[in-house]
Symmetry: C2
Subunit: 319 residues, 2 copies
């Protein structure tokens, strides 16, 4: 049990450090970008006032005005009256931005204005992106038993063959994923965001959880949003858990493709089962036949704690 405790301690440490890293990023981004944003916002207000004070608006002055308006808008600073109250670089928004950097979603609804901000973004992502992948991998490893190995075992015990069992399990997981991470959030978003339709919600969830992050729909951006900061933190949690589940789904698909001989057909690396925690268990209960390579069964029998020596999808002969 010592290694079990160590394993969970490590995961807790990872998640804690992840949160601290996001908070640290938020503080730095906020302190770098907020003054630049305030200055730009102030300049835009002055520009707008000056434009309004003109006795006559001609095409040239309008063009010049619009160039400045659109440039400021690119950096997330709007000239509209009701949007000037909320900053893109308060603590919650900065944390949201840091989160979109490290998860590689990158909406781009707000982007660093200063050179210092750009340089810091590079440094921050350089450490943050691999670390986030590490945390997601570690979390997925712990979820493989309750969400993949256990249900497949249950299906097998109820009399199913290994291959159909993994296919049925994958389909069930897919339906669960679609309902809980696309349909339900879309319903919530289309309720909370005034201008979003249900399709917009599904589109946002999909574009986000594939880490495409186009940024045409970003929650919590409408002016006068209630509990904006809490909402942004909730969206961050949704993104993290959603990405974790997407990764789990992908890994389960890879394992299933492996078992069905698809990876061999496509000549891709096989999904080696080498989870090294206490949850490790064969995804299918191995019904060994004569064609199983002896070294795999030997390994499984004699070295149960050796990394990479567990019976897995691979112990089942592909037909």
């Amino acid at each position: 049990m010592h290694s079990v405790g160590k394993s969970w301690l490590l995961l807790t440490g990872f998640i804690l450090f992840y949160i601290i890293y996001l908070l640290f990023g938020a503080l730095v981004f906020s302190s770098i970008e907020r003054p630049v944003e305030d200055k730009l916002r102030h300049d835009m207000d002055a520009l707008k006032q000056e434009f309004l004070n003109q006795s006559c608006v001609n095409a040239a002055s309008l063009e010049l005005f619009l160039v400045k308006v659109l440039t400021a808008n690119k950096y997330g600073v709007s000239v509209l009256r009701n949007s000037s109250a909320t900053s893109n670089w308060d603590l919650a928004s900065s944390m949201f931005f840091a989160n979109t950097l490290v998860t590689t979603v990158g909406y781009g609804h707000t982007t660093p204005l200063s050179d210092t901000g750009k340089a810091f973004s590079i440094l921050y992502a350089l450490i943050g992106v691999p670390f986030t992948m590490l945390v997601l991998t570690a979390c997925v490893q712990r979820l493989m038993f309750p969400l993949v190995h256990a249900p497949v075992g249950l299906l097998q015990r109820s009399g199913m063959e290994p291959r159909p069992a993994t296919a049925v399990h994958f389909l069930l997981l897919l339906v669960f994923m679609v309902l809980c991470f696309f349909v339900a959030p879309a319903a919530v978003f289309s309720t909370l965001e005034v201008s979003w339709s249900f399709l917009d919600g599904v589109y946002f969830s999909f574009i986000s959880l594939c880490t495409i992050g186009l940024g045409d729909f970003v929650p919590g951006m409408q002016p006068g949003q209630k509990y904006r900061q809490l909402y942004q933190v909730s969206v961050m949690v949704y993104l993290f858990v959603g990405l974790m589940m997407m990764y789990l789904l992908l890994r389960t698909f890879h394992k299933m493709a492996d078992l069905h001989g698809l990876t061999t057909f496509l000549q891709l690396p096989r999904c080696e089962e080498s989870d090294q925690d206490e949850d490790r268990e064969p995804i299918v209960e191995s019904k060994r036949d004569d064609q199983t390579p002896p070294y795999l069964t030997d390994k499984a029998a004699s070295k149960p704690l050796e990394p990479g020596s567990q019976p897995s999808y691979n112990t089942i002969n592909k037909g």
Copy 2:
């Protein structure tokens, strides 16, 4: 040699299908979005003209005008005079958009305007993202020998120990990557794009190749860009090759971390060597010692063509 030919045929097929898939996406996006964009562009021109014809501009009318301008801008339609000539949904731009979808970079500098476009984006990415991952994986597999296994072997033959050899090789690969995929492109971009500094170029390359894709810097967007379509296709090729190299770098790092016992320490899945093509060769020339688990050396000796049975990083004892 039959399987060698088949393997390369499959890869060529993948890449051809990838290009066809991008072209298909470009045609569909262009035919869906172009009419909507044209209408919006026309409306914006009319709105601008109407605004200019006002005898007196007041705060309310300016606010209403700006709301519409910024909304159109969100969808990539600018009211500025010199930007109205180029469409975001011509064939090259649509292909560029399709490419940012399937690679999950997602700049968001142009986004679908219509509901049909959004729904098609979801469907298109649903197939395109896994397929792109497949193509990238297949390409990286073929590059592992010339760029990883061969150089590490060379370093070892020159008298280096396996572990330092992999570390030196990784550092060399990293320097090559930084020079060829960050510094050189940044120099090119800062020359071709009027408003980009060198830092902007590095920032764009980094944000793109990490698939963050904020979209504050997108090449080929300035009005009156020469050879715009050729430029966009070149950027697409750069993105594809760059992503492939990033994936190769990540995989090499994973292998090195494996060899240095880092994955065991972090309790992560080990990077199993199971490339199934003719290029497969141990990343380090195995200097077996007594501590090497016998099943690994047996496997390597007796089953040279069995998937997952190759001598690899794992044949070297970690200690």
